[in-house]
């Protein structure tokens, strides 16, 4: 069982790496924004499997943190992405 789960972790991790290659290559900012999202799902799956394999129940808490913080990073991506795509509008504007 442990061997099977470890192999699954390695496989998902390899898929995550290939996906990252495809995303980071671009061409646009919107592609790169998907990076945090990809790590959000793939990284959580890896952590959960890893926690079961190594019998570390606390790995679930790391997955929980990763879920929250990857979402936060995605939103920061979008926020910055929007402010650079649109000169004004719904993006962050300075009002004095």
């Amino acid at each position: 069982m442990t061997e099977f789960l470890t192999a699954a972790v390695g496989f998902i991790l390899a898929m995550l790496a290939l996906g990252l290659v495809s995303i980071l290559r671009g061409p646009g900012d919107a592609d790169r924004m998907m990076a945090a999202q990809l790590i959000g799902t793939g990284g959580i799956a890896t952590l959960l499997l890893l926690g079961t394999v190594a019998n570390l129940p606390a790995a679930i808490d790391v997955a929980l943190t990763l879920a929250l913080l990857a979402t936060f990073a995605s939103i920061a991506f979008v926020k910055k992405g929007l402010s650079s795509l649109e000169a004004d509008g719904s993006a962050s504007t300075e009002t004095t």
């Binding site: 061997e3 470890t6 192999a7 972790v9 390695g10 991790l13 390899a14 995550l16 790496a17 990252l20 980071l24 671009g26 900012d29 790169r32 990076a35 945090a36 790590i39 990284g43 890896t46 952590l47 890893l50 926690g51 190594a54 570390l56 606390a58 790995a59 808490d61 790391v62 929980l64 943190t65 990763l66 929250l68 913080l69 990857a70 979402t71 936060f72 990073a73 939103i75 920061a76 991506f77 979008v78 926020k79 910055k80 992405g81 402010s83 650079s84 719904s90 962050s92 504007t93 300075e94 009002t95 004095t96």
Partner: protein, 314 residues
């Protein structure tokens, strides 16, 4: 070679590949994105090294908040890509490559010749754990055995925020950090910023509370709370507080202040600076940690928000 080793090689290769991408890619924004991914994935290595406390810290502060900090700067500085003339010449590059390769090789050699039962303080930490009645050894080290480091680290946070604020232009002194974010109130961003923070608050306080006996603690919980606060700010649902606000300053010094008071009390009535009487060790540590999580959340959030840019009346 076992399956586990193959998995570890894959993980190391992915992380190292992201590191290379971060250094060699031409566009600064892409490099920053690569660094965020790197920070989030390093947490996996820490889990594999059985250091869950560090994994939580690295995921929250290293990858999450740190990445977002760099990302914001990259977006603002986007149009200031340097001219080619700025780049160092080939000779400098080659020298730098040789120097870096030598450093890396020396470190790799050190890793390879590490003595197998390495010198360790783990038994000492475990045998003295009774003194605090906390079950998480890392929290014991942070809050009792190496409490001085932790206190000074709070002071570093305080100094950093003072440094950031001292860059305020005169016109905005005492005002609010960062721009006022505005978002369409019907947008999905605002929708998520309404739903997620309450969940994040429960998770953050849980990570903090569980730190007494399981992996977790004030840093990790505080970082989650700071992220949720910043999410509400980015969606325009909340605003950064004016820097001159009294309660804000009180929160910022609460953690190191209480730490210092307890430490001095230890000097006056106990054995040494920062010594806790064993009977009250747990409540004292918990009290300091409650003050610390507030300080950490506020400081991390304000460090990300940056120097004040608007006058306080806005």
């Amino acid at each position: 070679m076992s399956i586990a080793t193959i998995f570890e090689i894959v993980l190391a290769a992915v992380v190292l590949g992201l590191g290379i991408w971060t250094i060699v890619v031409r566009e600064t924004y892409s490099a920053t994105v690569g660094y965020v991914a790197y920070g989030l994935l390093v947490a996996l290595i820490w889990v594999r090294l059985d250091a869950i406390d560090v994994a939580l810290t690295e995921a929250a502060i290293g990858g999450g908040l740190g990445g977002v900090l760099l990302l914001g700067a990259a977006a603002r500085l986007r149009d200031s890509e340097p001219t080619v003339a700025d780049a160092p010449g080939k000779a400098v590059r080659v020298c730098a490559a040789i120097l870096s390769a030598l450093t890396a090789a020396a470190l790799a050699g050190a890793v390879l010749v590490l003595p197998d039962p390495a010198p360790t303080l783990a038994p000492a930490a475990a045998s003295n754990a009774w003194a605090t009645s906390l079950a998480n050894p890392v929290t014991n080290v942070l809050m009792a055995f190496r409490a001085m480091d932790t206190m000074l680290e709070k002071v570093v946070l305080l100094l950093a925020i003072i440094g950031v604020w001292s860059l305020t232009p005169d016109s905005a002194w005492g005002g609010r950090p960062g721009p006022r974010h505005q978002a369409d109130p019907h947008s999905v961003l605002v929708f998520l910023a309404r739903l997620l923070p309450p969940i994040g608050i429960v998770v953050g306080i849980y990570i903090f509370w569980t730190g007494a006996n399981h992996p977790g603690g004030a840093f990790q919980g505080g970082a989650i709370l700071a992220a949720m606060w910043l999410l509400a700010i980015m969606a325009g649902l909340a605003d950064t507080p004016p820097v001159r606000s009294r309660w804000l300053r009180l929160v910022l010094i609460a953690g190191p202040g209480l730490f210092l008071v307890v430490g001095l009390a230890g000097l006056l009535f106990g054995a040494a600076f920062l010594s806790y009487p064993p009977a009250q060790a747990k409540p004292l540590i918990l009290g300091i940690e409650v003050a610390m999580i507030l300080t950490i959340a506020a400081t991390l959030g304000l460090l990300l928000a940056g120097a004040p840019e608007r006058s306080a009346r806005q």
